[in-house]
């Protein structure tokens, strides 16, 4: 269980207090605007893109190879970009803040 905050493109903060699963699943359960997770987490669609708050980059870790190749094709990504379906929520991520950026 962890407390996560999603900052949407509209500027809303969506807080999930009892998060588990992947970040994308948590976002969908909380109807976070801008997270579709269309492919359900198999790294095919890039509809769950987030930018990790700089303070959390080390704990969240880098993108996987397949994920990074997908991110590299997009214009709006940078070194904070991750696909939220590829981030498993752990207690270590309690307090994590991510920005939702639709691609």
């Amino acid at each position: 269980m962890a407390r996560l905050t999603f900052i949407t493109e509209s500027g809303d903060n969506v807080v999930a207090d009892d998060a588990f699963g992947t970040l994308m699943e948590v976002a969908r359960d909380h109807e976070v605007e801008g997270i579709d997770g269309a492919c359900g987490g198999v790294c095919s669609c890039a509809t769950c893109h987030v930018k990790v708050h700089p303070d959390w980059l080390a704990k969240v870790g880098p993108a996987t190879e397949v994920e990074q190749e997908l991110l590299d094709l997009e214009d709006e990504t940078d070194n904070r970009s991750r696909l939220s379906c590829q981030i498993e929520v752990t207690e270590e991520l309690d307090g994590l803040v991510v920005e939702v950026v639709t691609l």
Partner: protein, 387 residues
């Protein structure tokens, strides 16, 4: 009978490189094959343009329609403006009440089919499913599906809607827009387009028809083929269905694996904007290239055991819905249908026995590819489980 309805039609072609010259109905086309090469080219509108009426589909469709299909036959940024007009309809499948309707529909069809001696899946299950579900997407009365079902598997090339002289699809679409324009605006697909504006200007009738034409044609044989493939594969490999039945977490990954292996649309065309070498193939300005999704999705450098259906494949970065700005707008709808179908076949304890099938083969000089079925007869049995 084979153990798998899918195959990699381009394995030998990929050995020649990321692109090869092919002849398609007497047209010289440069076919891009490798996964990364296809994905990059799909996003490179400067080199490979979609702004080409009738020439995005392969084969081209000058002979079967009179209007530019929208928004697919446009490049960004104009494409984005046009796509935004219909995007809300294609996001409707994300709503829980929509998912519930689709579930009710598929359950009704499965229960009906499982009460019969046998059923021809393509025309008696997949076609009515596709047609009725499309009424939900368009937000029109479900009775409209009776007309659509009558058009057959492919709105341009099936049975009576086959010839240039018989524009039954366009006639129908025009009638719907006539009706929409004669009435106050309604929240359905036709009325929304009839009243839509871009930069303060209403759409032309050709533009409206172009939107509707693509919405009907693009999601028809693709969904029918995907749905049919579920019955074929589970009929050939019942152990796969048992695996999914015992682990519902596989429904999503198995759905994506169906899309990867079926890849209903073999390829899509773009027009080369200037003379250039495309992965070693000299390609002239205005010559078409093919983005071969069906090859890319079997690229063994990306997909291990690409010829094997792996229900738990993850990651699975397939591009069965295309890639980039033109990624299939109907993907949410298609995914919902397939996930629901898998879930219900599992939950309703339906077993599938294959009786007979006739494959569709896409046959060109340079390749042959299985693309679904002309006919697929199965028997569906509901089994009872002891608890």
């Amino acid at each position: 009978m084979d153990k798998c309805p899918f195959h990699d039609a381009f394995a030998e072609h990929r050995k020649q490189g990321d692109a090869i010259p092919i002849t398609f109905d007497d047209e010289e086309i440069t076919m891009i094959l490798g996964f990364k090469a296809v994905r990059s080219a799909a996003r490179d509108f400067g080199s490979f343009s979609s702004d080409a009426p009738f020439r995005v589909p392969i084969p081209s469709e000058e002979d079967v329609r009179t209007v530019r299909q929208l928004p697919i036959e446009l490049d960004p940024p104009k494409h984005k403006t046009y796509r935004a007009l219909v995007e809300p309809f294609f996001r409707r499948p994300l709503a829980p009440e929509y998912a519930e309707k689709v579930s009710d529909l598929i359950e009704e069809l499965l229960l009906d089919a499982s009460g019969k001696e046998n059923i021809e899946i393509v025309r008696d299950f997949a076609l009515p499913l596709q047609s009725r579900a499309l009424t939900y997407l368009f937000n029109v009365d479900e009775s409209e599906a009776e007309i659509w079902t009558g058009w057959g598997i492919h709105v341009f090339r099936d049975g009576k809607a086959d010839a240039k002289d018989d524009f039954s699809l366009e006639d129908y679409i025009n009638r719907k827009f006539d009706e929409a324009e004669a009435s106050p605006e309604q929240p359905d697909f036709f009325s929304t387009l009839a009243y839509a504006e871009i930069e303060g200007e209403r759409l032309t009738r050709d533009e409206m028809v172009g939107f509707a034409n693509l919405a009907f044609a693009g999601g028809r044989d693709t969904i029918i083929q995907s749905v049919s493939s579920v019955f074929a594969l589970f009929g050939m490999q019942p152990e796969l269905l048992n695996k999914i039945r015992s682990d519902s977490s596989l429904i999503n990954t198995a759905t994506e694996e169906f899309f990867r292996m079926v890849t209903p649309l073999t390829h899509i065309g773009r027009v080369n904007t200037e003379n250039r070498e495309v992965h070693g193939v000299e390609t002239k300005q205005d010559q078409r290239i093919s983005l071969c999704w069906a090859s890319a999705n079997y690229d063994e450098t990306v997909f291990k055991d690409a010829d094997t259906f792996c229900p738990d494949r993850k990651p699975n970065p397939h591009i069965a819905f295309g890639n980039g700005a033109h990624t299939c707008a109907g993907a949410h709808h298609a995914r919902l249908i397939m996930r629901t179908l898998l879930r219900l076949i599992a939950d309703l304890n339906i077993d599938i026995k294959l009786i007979d099938l006739t494959e569709n083969i896409e046959k060109q000089n340079d390749y042959e590819r299985r693309t679904g079925f002309e006919s697929l007869i199965v028997k569906l049995n509901r089994t009872t489980t002891s608890s």
